[in-house]
């Protein structure tokens, strides 16, 4: 057995999966079952005590989901992963392991509108206090650090404007503050950016987007980089202290560099309950097999369309980091050399009304609240995904009233350009 490093596409097809031990089935079977029979009483006790590898109940783990978990962990270069019901569920489970009531976490101001809402309102009711910082200004993260800070949260490519975050600069702040850096890598996918290589300690995804890729299944995942030392100063008691739920086990001591993923499973998923359906896991796994092919086509199409829009007389501005003139182009060249993603925004000279009219006239682009589908999508963030923000916050997060967001699919780019052309000129 030689220690050779397989490429990304090989991992996308093979990691985590092997022929089914019982039937020889080569595709990963859908283990659509709630529970698993124990061999005997001792086996049951060993599994419940976290002493043995194996399956108990699908809210804690499932063989189909386990293939998905290992595959994404391998693609991201992490030690382990945990699949959950949605990207939002992943965020709750991660922060539950890190924060006690009254603690703080610092988050980039430019985030998916749903995350801004979750952090501002839902998490506030748990006593988890978000402190906002500007991802374009690393010093603003440094200034936000207090003794109660327990984590820093950023997006690698930020929704909706497709701006690129300087992950390494912010990871330096996290390291200095001795807190983990959490990176939402949904819009990049590990094909474009692997945040762990740039200093992330935890990576989260909405699998619903590019990883699943076909707009048919919700899912979320948490990847443990295995890089953070949870034992210092009792700051992270879920990881470092004896857990009464498991007769006094200390997770970091027992599970080493994948203790965070285990904590998310046995303290988060088990007790909060947002389990992923094995059927969804199967569909997402099938999607991941073609991730490298799809993601390159998404990016190539997006660049062609951004260039078309930038030269169109009705367009006021295009925010796409893949354009040479874009503010984030240098960061895109560093972090995402294969392409700057496929979600970006542009604004129309005709303002809000022109945006609404464009959305109504498009024939191929679907007007809906999702991104990362094979189909091209369009939405007006100010009235939908970011509608809960006030006007100033909308502009700060790149979702002003004149802004239209596109998620470019894998259709023929000439057809997408023709559709935009007719909708803009009509």
């Amino acid at each position: 057995m030689s220690d050779r490093l397989p490429g990304f596409s090989t991992l996308a097809v093979h990691a985590g999966a092997q022929p089914d031990p019982t039937t020889g089935a080569r595709a990963t079977p859908i283990y659509q079952t709630t529970s698993f029979v124990f061999n005997d009483a001792d086996h049951a006790a060993s599994l419940f005590g976290l002493q043995a590898f194996g399956n108990i109940y699908t809210r804690i783990g499932n063989p189909t989901n386990a293939v998905l978990e290992e595959r994404v962990a391998a693609l991201e270069g992490g030690t382990a992963a945990l699949a959950v019901a949605s990207g939002h569920a992943a965020q709750v489970v991660v922060l539950q392991q890190l924060l006690q009531p009254g603690d703080e976490f610092i988050a980039a101001r430019k985030l998916y509108g749903g995350s801004i809402n979750q952090f501002t309102h839902a998490f506030k009711s748990f006593g988890w206090n978000v402190v906002w910082a500007d991802p374009d200004d690393t010093a603003s993260f440094e200034r936000a650090v207090t003794p109660r800070t327990k984590a820093i949260f950023i997006e690698s490519i930020a929704n909706p404007g497709g701006s690129i975050t300087d992950i390494e600069a912010i990871s330096t702040v996290a390291r200095k503050a001795s807190v983990p850096l959490i990176v939402d890598n949904t819009l990049a996918s590990p094909y474009l950016i692997r945040p762990i290589d740039h200093g992330a300690d935890i990576v989260v995804h909405s699998l619903t987007k590019f990883l699943g890729g076909h707009g048919n299944s919700l899912g979320g995942i948490i990847v443990d980089a295995g890089t953070f030392d949870w034992s210092t100063g009792g700051k992270y008691p879920m990881l470092s202290e004896p857990r009464p739920e498991y007769h006094g086990i200390r997770l970091q001591e027992t599970f080493g560099n994948f203790a965070f993923a285990i904590a998310c499973r046995v303290l988060g998923l088990r007790d909060l309950g947002p389990a992923l359906s094995p059927f969804n896991a199967f569909l997402i796994l099938t999607g991941i097999e073609t991730l490298p092919l799809r993601m390159q086509k998404h990016c190539d199409n997006a660049k062609a369309i951004a260039e078309f829009l930038a030269s169109h007389p009705a367009v006021a501005s295009v925010s796409y980091a893949g354009l040479a003139s874009d503010k984030y182009n240098q960061l895109a060249r560093k972090y995402a050399p294969k392409g700057a993603g496929a979600v970006f925004t542009f604004s129309l000279k005709g303002g809000y009304d022109a945006g609404v009219s464009l959305v109504e006239k498009l024939q191929l682009f679907s007007h809906l609240a999702n991104v990362g589908d094979t189909r091209s999508l369009v939405i007006h963030p100010a009235s939908t995904t970011h509608s809960q923000l006030d006007d100033a916050a909308k502009i700060r997060s790149g979702a002003g009233p004149d802004v239209v967001r596109l998620s470019i699919g894998i259709e023929d780019k000439e057809d997408l350009i023709a559709d935009l052309e007719q909708a803009l000129s009509a």
Partner: protein, 194 residues
């Protein structure tokens, strides 16, 4: 041997060749990591000997405790040390007095003593530090994949479902090697600071 990041083949070679393992610091308390590892390795067919002077007269899963390595009275392939880094050296010195010498000295997750490792390696003993044999066996066989852990191995072969006492194949293709993994880099930084 570079003790910051072990090639899979090194670990695979050790786990495929040793048959008897003396576990120093084995605990009869079923929430301690040593108990988990002892039980798992016994289930995978290793001949396990618990070593702990505090429990002589009792047994661990049917195997009687002995007080020290020299009380075992027969050749041992591997010594697995479940003690803090500061208690490693005396155990290694005791191991070096055995005849015949053990083939492998393994120090558990979190335990590392480079001076002790150097002494053992000088007489041809293979050393592993800051790893768990249960985790490594589960990883190389991919049994640990049930918990969403990245085994860093691939295989297109059909393997049998594991049953009690069954040795598993560890001969899967490794994804490891090449660049040092982020987790190994972090462990290295930590060991340099301490």
């Amino acid at each position: 041997m570079n003790h910051d990041a072990y090639p899979d083949n090194y670990i695979r070679g050790i786990l495929n060749s040793v048959k008897s393992i003396a576990m120093v610091g084995a605990s009869p308390a079923n929430v301690r990591p040593s108990y988990f590892a002892f039980k798992y390795l016994a289930q995978r067919g290793y001949d396990m000997i618990p070593v702990n002077p505090g429990h002589v007269g009792k047994d661990l899963l049917g195997q009687p405790f002995v007080a020290s390595l020299c009380d075992i009275g027969r050749p041992i392939d591997m010594i697995d040390i479940f003690r803090n880094s500061s208690h490693i050296m005396p155990v290694v010195e005791e191991a070096l007095a055995l005849d015949p010498l053990p083939k492998v000295i393994w120090m558990q997750l979190g335990a590392r003593d480079d001076a002790a490792a150097e002494k053992a390696e000088a007489v041809g003993i293979k050393v592993v530090m800051n790893r768990c044999p249960k985790i490594e066996y589960g990883r190389l066989s991919s049994e640990i994949s049930w918990m969403g852990v990245n085994s860093r191995t691939l295989s297109s072969k059909r393997a049998p479902a594991p049953t009690q006492g069954m040795r598993l194949s560890l001969n899967r293709m490794s994804v490891g090697g090449g660049d040092t993994a982020a987790s190994d880099r972090a462990a290295k930084n930590k060991s340099e600071q301490s």
